[in-house]
Symmetry: none
Subunit: 215 residues, 4 copies
DNA sequence: CATGAATGAGTGTTCATTCAT
DNA sequence: AATGAATGAACACTCATTCAT
């Protein structure tokens, strides 16, 4: 490797690293204060630079949100695809998807919060159309998964599929608002307990059928 | 009744009515566009008046949000108190609380959306301390209800109470984001299905022992 | 005329008048400092209001330039059309056009300066395409007028028409840079002398033909 | 010649050459986009370097404009002085000055455009006082030349000298805005035709007395 | 009750300039 | 010589708010 080549790589890598740092900071601030309520100066303050300096790295505030969200979504969908490609049962697929979702929250918590809170607003702009597309794809995935589960006899047939879809979707993603990486419960712990609630409910198991209820 | 007196009454009543109208409009816009992203002018446009004219009715944009949220919370807590005062079993209380929550969503959808999306941000200001207090009260209520349920043998004991609390809280409130009063599913329908999911899960019941498996 | 109607007219008229006042101020500043070098605040200062207040009246700095230029061009072309419609000889038409041009300078001096100095720059934006169109129309008018003059034997045939066109165009418009309404020379005075120079040159008349040159 | 010495010479010469290159580029961009509307980055882009790198060669954006204009003016005045020093007739001097002006435009077109469009604005700063001085000197030169011409019977006496001065000055310099070196008309062609217009006008000569009018 | 014009602080963004490398 | 990251002041523009009418 020639010195020149190493230099070029070095600066390109350093640049990418700085971008990533700044994006992480921006994501944190957007998530905690809300995208609209966050000024570019607040982001810059959190990064220890001046407002205008951010524009050396990014074209606009919108561009930062764009990069934060699309990076997160790309990674999330890649993980989902791996699960879906395995051709498991509906139940196992559901477990896999939920587990991956919590892993996404673990790795991209601020991005998930932004996605959750701002995507309705952002999606009105041309640039963020992929948010709408992601939402559609998400819905299709869940509805067909739930349908498959009912067909396989794994899931109850007496529930409205649209409702169940929203129930799971919301519950999983909204958890990003309180989840703390490195906290008492790991992402996998939460996934496990959430799955238990989704699948079996919070009700104590009824006495076995051998002991019929005396009403 | 003297004309003067009638006028005064008429004016006072009309004034209150106008306030309510304007607040409803403001709540709608705040909910759909986000509080920070909503300008006073947008609210005024939606109400068919000019921006400055809102200040005849309200002291500030913040005052509008305040009145929207506190009205909603007051009514919600009154309903919760009625349920809690009945001294029912944990299971029945849970049903009652969830049902009342969906009734709140039905009656105050925009307020609930604002509460959901903006309260973290708003609660940093002195004026909105009651949001923090409401959150605390909410948490206490749920934790003691869940504990009671476990004691009564109604709820599973193997789940983290804090997690279950957040699970239910989030799932219920986030529904305000998609619920449409007068839509296909009524608030009570949704409450019923959500309760079914909370309590029994989405998994199909295993075959009962009366229908023995043919091995 | 009902009071209501008079009120409506009154406020509409007052509004239009205020706009015109502010536009005149803006034109003055744009003309004297250059459009790009003029900040919105400078315009506002000159108008005795704050920077932001201009946006109650105009959408943008560009919108002000637009209104200034299009108002001027509309009036100028209307005047030109009146001259052209009279069907005069080329010489008389030229006199009329030049006279109208100096009247335009008299009435819209700042607008003419802006047109002269900034139109190349502004015309790159979609909004100002009419500047290009006006330039084309202007060129066509002059070229056909000069051609007509040559045909009629009124103008010399040994000059490059494109050159003569630019010569006259530039000389007339650039005068806006130093012309002062109410100064020593009136717009009509200047028009008369400019016409003398265009037509007959600055050279002293040669001795009459009765005294043929002895070379 | 020691290597050290050759290096030093090479460096100094190369440095001067690079400056000249960069100044030519800057002049081009300033002329085509306007000084205020031109960012340092645009100049650097046109030169194929980064914005900050220009500051190795020049102290500031203003310094570039300064060097461009003063170089042009120095050369122009040197040429004018040569013409004036020849002690010719007013008519021949005028021809010489106009011809030199078009040669200046040919050699320094961008500088002339900048001078034409920006000098009023730049001349407000201390650094550019020489622009005002040049203007004064220019005016004196022309006024005395015109006066001489009238005295000599070469120029008409019925025209306002100030007006004629401005007429010629503007017409000559403004031509820099459309002149293209290497175009259809050379600088000398244009000078010749402009002189014809200045001196004799664009009007066809009246029929000579040998061809008497038939009344 | 509402309007219309204004305020003034603040927003996202630009840009001339600096400087360590 | 040139880069790349940063500065800091300024810019066009927005917006919650005020107030005379």
């Amino acid at each position: 490797m020639s010195p020149r080549r190493r230099d070029a790589e070095g600066t390109a890598a350093a640049r990418a690293e700085r971008r990533a740092e700044l994006l992480a900071t921006a994501a944190e601030v957007f998530a905690s204060q809300g995208y609209s309520a966050t000024t570019v100066r607040k982001v810059a303050d959190a990064a220890g630079i001046l407002g205008g300096s951010l524009y050396y790295h990014f074209d606009s505030k919108e561009a930062m949100a764009d990069e934060i969200l699309s990076t997160f979504l790309d990674e999330m969908w890649a993980a989902y695809e791996r699960v879906l490609a395995a051709g498991l049962s509906a139940r196992d697929t559901l477990e896999g998807i939920v587990a991956e979702s919590f892993r996404s929250i673990d790795r991209h918590r601020p991005a998930v919060v932004i996605y959750q809170n701002e995507s309705k607003h952002l999606a009105t702009s041309e640039r963020f159309q992929y948010l709408n597309e992601s939402r559609r794809r998400f819905q299709e995935m869940w509805l067909s998964l739930l349908e498959q589960g009912v067909r396989e006899g794994a899931f109850r047939a007496d529930l409205d599929p649209g409702l169940v879809y929203r129930f799971i979707r919301d519950t999983v993603w909204v958890a990003a608002n309180w989840y703390q990486p490195g906290g008492r419960l790991s992402a996998d712990d939460i996934a496990k307990q959430y799955l238990a609630m989704f699948l079996e409910g919070i009700q104590a198991s009824p006495p076995t059928s051998q002991e019929p209820r005396t009403s």
